[in-house]
Symmetry: C2
Subunit: 215 residues, 2 copies
């Protein structure tokens, strides 16, 4: 049974440049994140593979899955635990064929149709958002809000990971709206102390009471 984490920390070196992807992975894991996603949209492939390999090693020490955003080739090269695929990324069905049944595949969905197709194609979880307005992704679209999230989570037969504008001030509300977990970028990467920020989010997710059901 693949375990889909409750706190997905997406590493980012565009919104901030104090920490590398590997440093962020180390801090996220130390703070208790149970999934780390490597997201890098430009740069040479060899460099991405080196970065992903370092992150894989860090995550493996703590048994935390490393999920690579979009780049199935990079995931294959480092034998990452999974990939996360947006609607403009590598197609889910092809990724499942190439990666096999054992790896985690997440799909970003902006609506129920995209979620259902993603699950049919082989996705293990569905990323949904943006829940709140966000500055982390320029093409994120309009905020969906907690009521739409609740309807979405009820309708989708897979764990829903909420994303977009989520941080310490609203994480508990997101969890109570039916999300299996949350994905964050700035709420960890752009904080003064990313490890402490992670630890705080883990505590808030735990305190929301939702995660007790399947932990």
């Amino acid at each position: 049974m693949k375990k889909i984490g409750a706190l997905h920390v997406l590493t980012d070196t565009v919104l901030q440049s104090r920490h590398t992807h590997a440093e962020l992975a180390r801090m996220a894991v130390a703070g208790g994140a149970d999934a780390v996603q490597y997201r890098q949209k430009s740069g040479d492939t060899r460099g991405m593979i080196e970065t992903a390999r370092a992150m894989c090693d860090i995550c493996a020490e703590s048994g935390v899955p490393l999920i690579v955003n979009d780049r199935v080739d990079v995931a294959l090269a480092v034998e990452a635990d999974g990939v996360h695929l947006g609607q403009d990324d590598f197609p889910v069905a092809l990724a499942r064929n190439i990666l096999g049944a054992g790896r985690i595949i997440g799909v970003s969905a902006g609506n129920l149709d995209e979620a259902r197709q993603g699950i049919v194609d082989g996705a293990d979880y569905v990323g949904f958002g943006p829940i709140f307005p966000t500055g982390s992704k320029s093409d994120a679209g309009e905020a969906q809000g907690l009521e739409v999230l609740a309807d979405f989570a009820r309708a989708v037969r897979a764990p829903v990971i909420a994303i977009g504008g989520i941080g310490a001030h609203n994480a508990a509300g997101v969890m109570r709206s039916g999300a299996h977990g949350i994905a964050v970028i700035s709420a960890v990467c752009c904080q003064a102390d990313p490890e402490a920020a992670t630890r705080n989010l883990v505590k808030l997710i735990g305190a929301s009471g939702i995660r007790d059901q399947d932990d």
Copy 2:
């Protein structure tokens, strides 16, 4: 036996924007190119796969191999005939593992050590250059010239595809220096009539007398 073409046309939509990758592939094939390489260094993966699929269909009609630059994931998605890998791209040995023995793998080498390592790792041919000064690649390095090419081609136990500043005015000299073939970007893509430019290069390669040996 994998056949490594003598005229590799690299499609490009950065140096010119009149033609799409697929249009360039069609013109190159119509003009007699015996290898087409899809090279796109930025953009979303889904779009790259769609482009590569269109190019694959065009090339397959004429039995011309489509080679994808760098992106092993895109090559896998469209079952392309091969990949071409630079020193900053996906590693050759991993690519060979993932793609299997049947696909063409080319490696860019700037010196004999890189060429030998690439061949040990599983490359079928070696791209070598720049032979002449070129404006097509900003990081191409210093021109090697025909004498260095001749020494290189004698020393390397794989077909050498020369690249960099090659066009109708110097193609025959490159072939006579021991290259198995040439790779061109602007000499086709940036010409008024890419199909006619391809046809002319094919004729020059044939007239050089070198290709008769294994055709």
